[in-house]
Symmetry: C2
Subunit: 337 residues, 2 copies
Amino acid sequence: MTTRATSLQVALRAGVSQSAVSRVFSGASASPATAEKVRKAAAELGYRPNVLARAMITGKSRIIGLVVAYLDNQFYPEALERLSNALQAEGYHVLLFTIPNSTDSIQGVVQDLMDYQVDGIIAASVSISSGLAEMCHSAGIPVVLFNRGQPDSGLSSVTSANIKGGALATHALINAGHTRIAHIAGWQGSLTGRDRKQGFEDAMDQAGLVPFAIIDGMFKRDIAAASARQLMQGDARPDAIFVGNDHMAFAVMDTVRTMGFSAPDELSIIGYDDVPLAAWAAYDLTTVRQPVNRMVEATVDTMLALINGRDTYSQTIEIEGPLIQRSSSKPPKGQLQ
Amino acid sequence: MTTRATSLQVALRAGVSQSAVSRVFSGASASPATAEKVRKAAAELGYRPNVLARAMITGKSRIIGLVVAYLDNQFYPEALERLSNALQAEGYHVLLFTIPNSTDSIQGVVQDLMDYQVDGIIAASVSISSGLAEMCHSAGIPVVLFNRGQPDSGLSSVTSANIKGGALATHALINAGHTRIAHIAGWQGSLTGRDRKQGFEDAMDQAGLVPFAIIDGMFKRDIAAASARQLMQGDARPDAIFVGNDHMAFAVMDTVRTMGFSAPDELSIIGYDDVPLAAWAAYDLTTVRQPVNRMVEATVDTMLALINGRDTYSQTIEIEGPLIQRSSSKPPKGQLQ
DNA sequence: CTGAAAGCGCTTACAG
DNA sequence: CTGAAAGCGCTTACAG
């Protein structure tokens, strides 16, 4: 077990000062001749700067804390992968924290993150208490919320245009001729869940329709399944359900099929997210696309701007996505299928 | 933006030396009186030790590098979440690296990891070249391979008992009365893929059967789908397919259903992994379970033993999992369904 | 451009 | 048990 070479060893071998070695590796000015000698010696010794030492001095760890819940929802692994790749491309690294799909426990996580001197925190579908937000703010650690806004928190956020998206899905159902439309909503404790429901209600209102039912599905499979069962078991049934995200919509489809109903003949179903699974033949789910790549880009851009002090105020970015019409819901009337 | 308090500031306020503060927070001996004064001052100042500074001195960053590919395969998000939780519970943190689903590029990742002085590396289904393995070894950084063995690499690994598992699936197909059994294999460049195929061949052999066909599905959806299409389009068709993992099996089911075949009547399908999706009604896939929780436990245990110098030699751990009989394949003959 | 020196925030022998 | 001091591996003014 050989121990890592240090800048001093490189300096000795290159016949220059330790400062010179540091300058070459930190991108400061150095003459071509010095740089050459240093690089040669470094290569021979397999030298690489100790990132931790550098971080301690500069105060920049180049680590971004990524807090994520809901990893069983296919939307997040994809987002995580893209976020991680985008950050790596910018020379940042990701310290990952997974938290039980709940609301608390984020407190300790943020403490840990701060202990590691992270340059920023990205929280995916996780709420930050105002106390924590204040803590991060006063510590100068920028926070960007991904896929979950928090009004009045002073935190930047990147989401899809959830109200519009909810309306988009609902209009599609209305245009297909449905009138008894139910909504199994996303968790009403989250703005994302509330906004999509808002879009649903607006669209129904505008069409002069009354919601068949609105149930909080909590973004959970089992609750969504139970809700679907409840909706479909009586005599008075909805003829369409807009579900707050794809993850729950799959559970709804599984449930109603098991009950003997077929989509879209007896029931149209529309989800939200357009995760890869939505396109698979087993579901072929009509859904509102969340443009993950653009959301990730916006998140990383916002984070970098915050870190580099280009933006000082918080940004609330909403990105629109299209409805993807598939076979789980009837197509708009008058349109050939 | 207030700057973090340092141990010196705490010392001043507590009326003790900076060393005393350090001792209290690093768990070294200190008198109750001193400890009390220090804790009080620290609390007032919101002091927390700078982990980076500590890491630099102790040489222990308490960071584990986690390298992962294939995040679109539902097995990995789940493993990632459990791994991350288990490591967090042990006081370690996870630096995440996602790599394009390929074989190279891992080189640079390991370099980055070493720059951050990680205490260990867990690589999930990623191959480490012998050169890299040597590098990690000589740097004293333990490596544990998750869900992918590498014979003769000197690296520890935790996998399921893939040969047995492959045989288990194949026996189930044979016992159900199938004779024209094909195998869409996992990537033959990986030991996991080869072992499962080995189990398939052994079981066929033992039953005096000849494989209908063996195709390398590369662990990829599109290749698995194309393979299934090819297998099913002629007149001579298999009556059962053992697929190298669930992720590919879903693609196979989607494909054959789209072609008009129904499982298990016209074709039995068995996968490998038992990801959550396998239990969903849309697939209800018979599969060999990989006990993720036990694999994660073994991985973390192995890693900790390596870090703490308890184990010096590499371990190759294989964990057996049961066959989970569902409706995508016919049940064993003579057994009531 | 370059070297000597101070210092980042800690841990850890070393004396007392 | 406790303080003064050295040192971890770097970066960064400061002179030259």
